[in-house]
Subunit: 267 residues, 2 copies
DNA sequence: ACACTTAGTGTCAATTGAACACTTCAAAAC
DNA sequence: GTTTTGAAGTGTTCAATTGACACTAAGTGT
């Protein structure tokens, strides 16, 4: 019976709704100026120990509430930061190393912000793909500053967030080769060059223009609009849209990019 | 300051080493008699409420200790049950629905076995691929019976373990088409037919014998042995081995099976 | 010796992949 | 208003891979 008493004390005094042992973190990808970027936040320390907080970025994340599932928690974090919902958001890995919280800076921050700063926290990492033009950073409680940083220029992050970001990038590279999800990073209307540049950026290799166009069009995942660019100082490019409905209803082949050294098996 | 006191009471009385909020579950695949199977356990209820326990299977799993990471916890569960280590074991998804623990049977079991039976538990699910001949079920504390059940005959399981199993199966089908991991389900030496039957079972479709052999051999992932079958009442088949070293060192192309309706992009 | 069963083998047509260069269109520069 | 500039857009050819397809080989059992 003892554990019931302990349990109720625990629930009452630590927090009525936050589970102190599980968090979600969102690796939010955007694409602008021909660069793949992550949306990172500068941590807000309530009882400001300013020198520690100095230029210390982190992935947006939060503890999971007792009444929400993991997907909901991730969607909440995303919405609180960007104001957006209905975004591509996919769990990709849980991280639970007991040592992920041992950096001095992290411990200082946790002491200011968590009721149980020594607790082991495992985190479930999500990746989000966003058209970064749509993002309006919300004046939120949990970040005083948010920035889009090119993935090549990510500094040292809080906790194990560098590991998580790298994991997300690897997951993105793989997924993009199997499913047509890259479109989530572009605006509604985009040119074929936009799309190709995006793929080249993610995959870090050059693609043949003519082959790319042919395959993309044959795949049926995009539709040409009558509309073209205006006011560009060269031949205006046609706009395309992603056939989200077709793809989501499974009426369409995958966009399946070959991986380095791979080959296809079987009849 | 209050939370420190609570924290220490909590840690002392609930459990010194178990984190009550995160568990791991292992979906253990095996392949025998031309069937894909899962290794499931019958739950052991300490203060036996026998009628509730009746033929109620579950995935092997356990709470995660404070001093181990998630992979280690999963490996521990696997070893405690099968006696094996160094097995293919891969995290594939975290499950954290608040309602995953609401079945009456589950709650009864938790009350008998957990110090904090009402706690929200999220679980990190792993899939393991095993040569089922190697498994010697350990007379373990946490299961009084373990069985290999064909995936087509999985009954209702504890918690959300049916969801987890289905997720594992889907993950296996996808992974097997990208990486040469199916071999983990076979003995060291196997025939080409063994391998083909395995792929056909996992993918649930027939494959052309001649094309299969050609692709497998060209891929370089297997090597023919001089040895052949003995004592079979038909033409004896040649044995092959999986080139684990080559594959793990990345010196080899993937085994990449085409998916339904897919097509490959790019030069 | 014959029946039975599974192993093992090759070719051809169709598809897909990869490499490759010139013309078109608009604005800007002159 | 002619020319320059820069990105868009377009087909073909050859090589490699895929997929379909049917018979012979090598053992055991009768």
């Amino acid at each position: 019976m003892g554990y019931f008493a302990v349990n109720s004390i625990y629930r009452m005094s630590v927090s009525p709704s936050l589970n102190p042992h599980v968090s979600v973190d969102c690796v939010i990808f955007g694409f602008s100026k021909e660069t793949l970027r992550l949306l990172l936040i500068k941590r807000t320390v309530p009882n400001a120990v300013t020198e520690l907080d100095d230029s210390y970025y982190a992935l947006p994340g939060d503890l999971v509430s007792d009444n929400e599932n993991l997907d909901e928690a991730a969607a909440r974090v995303l919405k609180e930061l960007t104001g957006l919902s209905g975004i591509f958001l996919q769990q990709f890995q849980a991280f639970g190393d007991p040592l992920r919280i041992t950096k001095a800076k992290d411990r200082a921050w946790l002491k200011g912000v968590r009721q149980d700063p020594d607790a082991r926290v495992i985190t479930v990492a999500y990746m989000a793909l966003i058209d970064s033009n749509k993002v309006q950073i919300q004046p939120g409680s949990f970040s005083k500053e948010a920035v889009w940083l090119p993935i090549a220029e990510i500094p040292e992050l809080a906790f194990d967030h560098n590991d998580i970001s790298e994991g997300a990038l690897m997951a993105l590279r793989e997924k993009v080769q199997i499913q047509p999800i890259a479109f989530e990073l572009l605006p509604e209307k985009f040119t074929m060059s936009d799309l190709q540049t995006l793929y080249e950026t993610i995959l870090e290799r050059d693609l043949d223009k003519r082959n790319f166009r042919r395959k993309m069009l044959n795949s049926g995942v995009i539709t040409a609009l009558p509309e073209k660019q205006h006011g560009v100082s060269n031949k205006p490019a046609r706009y395309y849209v992603f056939n989200r409905n077709l793809v989501e209803n499974g009426h369409l082949g995958f966009v399946n990019l070959k991986m380095e050294g791979s080959f296809t098996l079987f009849s």
